[in-house]
């Protein structure tokens, strides 16, 4: 923590107020958002004491602090037992009205408090400074989540403020067993991170592993939870995510109740959850807010969509270029007639359309909202219709790519959708060079890879592989809530009884 000192100076706060103030100014490069308010505090029976309040503009509101100090000066004639206390203690005990006051004696801590938005009271002749909780939070209000939206269910999403996020969780789980372990990660950004879990339910192995991995992180800055995700994930080069994220407090609360561990990061509305399993990626919070028959059906459709998103183009390429005999005769005539005059092989055709779609998709995410209309017109009309009419691409291929694209966005977990997009291209190449035979070998390799993955020690494909009977109630389908008496056994290894 010596990074905050300059020239090997001692970190200690010195008695001379002026020296302290000058040092502050010097070390912060005279940043204009550091406000220093100097004032005289009148004390009973003593001469006035010179003091300075240091605070960050916009992060803190020191109005109350200043007033209580000045008010005190005016009524200083009152007799008190001031002799028993040192000046800082006296102020802490009797004067400052704010909820939290810390006494610090070195600049390292002082800076921590200062940049967290606390007001710093420096006193002439004292080697301690008082840090007063004057934080003022200027942040986005709680809004409806943008990414993981539901038809029925809570409408609140996490914000960028860690304490608010934690309070949303606390409001959902009012139990002393909801524990939040604070961490500070990032040498420069000093980002607050909370490890949140339900004591007594959480798997200790996962928790220990998480603590170990978090402690290993030595990075200058954490700006988003992905900085942490990438630092703690099991396999750096796996296409499949082994850490899941959510911007919904209800999702995180549900995951905590299942025995998972959440990681809240200050400055981002996305909280991380470990362990993250493959089956979990297909579970939307809405699965639990709609009746189970419907949820089960929709969940199966999601899994079908995943398969479609990964395999449709490759299957189309394989069948039309290697295995024409597999097509019904009339369909073959139809496809063959569409392909008349198309100058590219099916694979190149598919690649052109897929890449075009990816470009369109990326453009629609990045472009300014106001010109969104023009992109969609160009995308649908020009790319879709005109390319078919020009005979560059077959209509069947446009349909295949569209199905793939739509199926891709069905995934409730955005990151599994990204995984599907990437392996799709791999499978297209395999299909183009090896046909169905290669495609099936590729599928085998994919399944083997998925089965070999682990997220914090939990097999990625569980409860399917290894098969866990009791967890099947909430994997491929969801049983009605009264039937779900146990927590997932692959995650919550102890205390699995959910309801009796």
């Amino acid at each position: 923590m010596s990074g905050t000192t300059v020239n090997g100076e001692s970190d200690a706060i010195v008695a001379r107020l002026e020296d302290n103030v000058n040092r502050l100014k010097r070390e912060s490069g005279g940043s204009s958002d550091i406000k220093i308010r100097e004032l005289q505090i009148g004390l009973p029976g003593k001469k006035q004491v010179h003091a300075a309040i240091v605070s960050m503009e916009g992060l803190s509101d020191t109005h109350d602090l200043v007033r209580s100090l000045l008010e005190y000066g005016k009524t200083a004639a009152r007799e008190t037992a001031d002799g028993e206390f040192s000046l800082p203690d006296y102020l802490m005990q009797f004067v400052i009205a704010d909820s939290n006051v810390w006494k610090v004696s070195d600049f390292v801590e002082l800076y921590d408090h200062l940049f967290a938005g606390n007001g710093i009271l420096l006193l002439e002749g004292e080697t301690v400074a008082l840090c007063v909780s004057t934080q003022k939070i200027n942040a986005r209000q709680v809004e409806e989540p943008n990414v993981q939206s539901v038809v029925r269910g809570p409408r609140e999403g996490f914000t960028e403020v860690l304490s608010w996020n934690m309070s949303m969780l606390r409001r959902k789980i009012r139990d002393r067993r909801l524990w939040a372990e604070p961490r500070k990660i990032g040498r420069v950004t000093q980002t607050n991170v909370l490890i949140v879990y339900l004591d007594g339910i959480v798997s200790m192995e996962v928790l220990e592993e998480l603590r170990r991995r978090l402690d290993k992180i030595d990075i200058d800055g954490i700006l988003e939870s992905n900085y942490i995700e990438e630092s703690i994930q099991d396999s750096q080069f796996s296409i499949f995510p082994t850490v899941s994220n959510s911007e919904r407090p209800d999702v995180i609360a549900a995951q905590l109740l299942e025995g998972r561990v959440a990681i809240l990061v200050d400055g981002t509305p996305f909280a991380l959850v470990v362990p993250a399993l493959f089956a979990q990626m297909f579970q939307s919070p809405e699965d639990y807010y709609q009746r189970s028959m419907f949820s089960s059906l929709i969940r199966m459709i999601r899994m079908l969509s995943f398969i479609l998103a990964v395999f449709t183009p490759s299957l189309y390429i394989a069948v039309t270029t290697y295995h024409q005999e597999l097509l019904p005769t009339i369909l073959l005539y139809n496809l063959a007639s569409q392909r008349e005059g198309v100058p590219f092989p099916a694979f190149v055709e598919a690649l052109i359309m897929e890449v075009t779609f990816e470009i369109l998709r990326e453009a629609s995410v990045r472009m300014p909202r106001t010109i969104g209309q023009s992109i969609s017109i160009v995308g649908t009309l020009v790319i879709g219709q005109a390319s078919v009419e020009a005979g560059l691409v077959t209509a069947a291929m446009v349909i295949v790519v569209s199905i793939t694209a739509i199926a891709n966005f069905v995934m409730p977990a955005f990151n599994i959708g990204i995984a599907a997009r990437m392996i799709r291209f791999v499978f297209m190449m395999i299909a183009a060079s090896f046909g169905l035979f290669g495609l099936f070998l590729g599928m085998i390799v994919l399944v083997l890879r998925l089965c070999a993955l682990r997220s914090f020690g939990v097999p990625y494909m569980s409860p399917l592989a290894p098969f866990i009977q009791s967890d099947q109630k909430d994997t491929l389908w969801r049983m009605p809530i009264p039937f779900m008496k146990k927590r997932p056994e692959n995650v919550a290894k102890r205390n699995v009884i959910r309801q009796k």
């Binding site: 039309t320 270029t321 290697y322 024409q324 005999e325 005769t329 073959l332 005539y333 139809n334 496809l335 063959a336 007639s337 569409q338 392909r339 008349e340 005059g341 198309v342 092989p345 099916a346 005979g391 183009a432 060079s433 090896f434 046909g435 035979f437 290669g438 070998l441």
Partner: protein, 402 residues
Amino acid sequence: MRLRRVLPVMLSMILLVPLAGCWDRQELNEMSIVAGLGIDRVGDAYHISVQIVNPAEVSPKSSYGSKLAPVVTLEQDGKTLPDALGRLTVLTPRRLQFSHLRMVVFGESTAREGLRKPLDYLSRYAEMRNDFFLVVAKNRRASDILKMYSSMDPIPANNLFTKLRNSDEQWAATSKMTLNELLIATETEGMSAFMTGIEIVGDPGNANEKNHQEISPSSNLEYSGTAIFKRDRMVGWLDENGTKALNYVHDSIKWTVGYLGCPDKGRASVELFNIHSKIKIRGKSKGDLAVHVYLTMEQDISDVECDLDMMNEATMKWFDRQTDAKVRRIVQNTVANTKKNLRIDVFGFGQQVHRQHPKIWHRIKDWNATYLDVPVHVHVRTNTRRIGTTQQPVTRQTEKGE
């Protein structure tokens, strides 16, 4: 250790290239889909004709406009079938793709010379599926059949395929034959192969490009009769009733219609369904074998043009007996005719002898010769199920109303 884990993976990756590599990749627009194949034998050479699809002309939204024919039939000679197909490459713009072959047509003279040789190629060629139908062109060369336009389906071979499939289901006088069935029938002692015949009706000389735009086609392809084979050699034709009899005995009729003569003038029509046959061979030795064919069927009365009291149970019995008698007559006439004219067992009773009396079978040298002396008894049992949505015949109703 690590190598031992990685090596199998590497090896299977390398194996992918020769096993499934790009070498047999074929784009849809780089191949010609063969829909029909005609095989004729001219002298000691084969004359083959292939009907290939022109996909651009088949599509519902053709951007080229229907200026070209939807199919092209190309012909070539060769000493063997593969030889002829090889020579065909000088005529075809693209590689021929046989996996979607719908029809194989044999010329009648070719069929009479024997099909064993061409069948070998058809069954050996891996690219061909075996779900196409085989037919014999009556009094014609197969190539003539494949040169005909079809009026409904742009692809004539496809038209023939669906035509045969439909009439096989709904009409007793046609029967489809696939490659596997044919091979089994030709190679099995005591069975006879048969194939539906196809003929050109109308004036084939008019089969020019105008034909497919006519509302009433001046020429068309029609299935008629059945070619009967002794081994792989065609020996003769069965007429419509003969084909019906064949199908009755082979238990291959789903549904058919027939008519009966009334006691007075006029006719009544019946729909027959649920038709099942059972063949029993009775006898203790080669000398006293007798074939019993048991046919059970149900009928609905679909049309009554005569004066019958339909509310009387005796009338129903009468219908039952009439159908019994008619079907029996059809089968027995065919048995007698084929015994007399073709002198072979077209029904495959021999196979039943083999199955039911293997000991006797092994003492029989020439089944076809033995068969000529074996009596065939036909037992038919018909049940009338429904008489339709009206009760008395309309003739009766109107007479009473007057």
